[in-house]
Point group: C2
DNA sequence: CGCCCGGCGTCAGTAACTGACGTTATTGTG
DNA sequence: CACAATAACGTCAGTTACTGACGCCGGGCG
């Protein structure tokens, strides 16, 4: 059983967020974060592989939730409708994480290194959804394309929702997928 | 007028590619690259901002070509057809760069740090295309989504073409956009 | 009570970058 | 054909992200 490792981890995350907001990402060292969390720099790197990773946690939960939801969609459902249904299942988790996400967002937007990592995390989600689509019988040709496009639409919906919160996330989700359908219909 | 800076830049790129292929990205230092190019480590960082950037050059040309091609598409053309037309214009450049791309690909695939940078470069392209779409009168809501989806489709086409070269890149491009249309049509 | 072990501290080391300053080679000018 | 101007490079010192090795310490378990 761990001593109190999980609490140290949480303190490190909170300390990093605070310092990144106060001084900016570049002007805070990993030693600063560790000091505010009451540990040494070495302990920081025992909990997080690098300075960026402390900002992106709980991604595994989202991937498990979405792949699980995708597997639960009735067989025979086409890829993009299946993805849309899975994303609807994730709405509560996203709404619940909004307070943290809103604090992180300006830091990520202002820091290229963090944007790169955010893109990498998104790519990992797409890879997982690609595998989940293949497990549903989607072609190797079609699975990566649909996973990518579906995730993009989902991301667009979240962005619209975060900037204009007059409507529900469910509503934005359906609206974004409708935009996708209408835009794609203009091809040919 | 510069001394011979451009040749040094090219030697550094070639040296980096060779060393990354020989020992792998992690086991080659920036000093190694500089030494093989016949310069010092400091000079490496005068030509490239970091160790990853030496691998991603000529992105500006592609962005200029695509945004220019997008601006040249007849007004009134819907976003995704316009993007498809622009991507067709870039086919010669991509075919011409294939030899270099093929050498870089295995290194990028094996190196997470380089994949992150590749994703960032792709994101920069999407941002440029988003602006170009807005200049064509596309909504702020629709422009980012279409730029993202169009670029994804274009990337899928290139990937299919690179792995199965029996067909033309033009053919793969049209096929991928058709896949997009058919997949999106399954929404409702 | 003593053993075990997981988490932490300490120390030393590597390598990616950065700023400051001096040096060389090329180019335009009289 | 000198000769200044300047862009590119070398040198040096420094910071910081990250890693491996080893020792310590506290808590569970027989």
């Amino acid at each position: 059983m761990p001593r109190s490792g999980e609490q140290v981890r949480l303190r490190l995350q909170e300390a990093a967020l605070e310092l990144y907001l106060e001084r900016g990402y570049d002007k805070t060292t990993t030693g600063d974060i560790a000091a505010r969390a009451g540990v040494t720099e070495r302990t920081f790197f025992r909990h997080f592989t690098d300075k960026r990773e402390v900002f992106f946690d709980g991604q595994a939960e989202l991937i498990e939730l979405l792949t699980g939801a995708l597997a639960a969609v009735p067989a025979g459902t086409r890829p993009l409708p299946a993805l849309r249904a899975a994303f609807h299942q994730a709405v509560p988790l996203i709404e619940q994480n909004l307070p943290v996400t809103e604090r992180r967002h300006p830091v990520i937007a202002a820091t290229p290194a963090l944007r790169e990592r955010a893109l990498a995390k998104n790519a990992a989600l797409i890879d997982a959804l690609t595998d989940a689509l293949r497990a549903r019988g989607v072609t190797d040709q079609l699975a990566p394309l649909c996973a990518q496009i579906g995730t993009d639409t989902y991301a667009a919906a979240i962005h619209r929702w975060a900037t204009d919160r007059t409507d529900d996330l469910h509503t934005h989700l359906d609206r974004a997928f409708t935009d996708l359908r209408l835009s794609a219909n203009a091809l040919k």
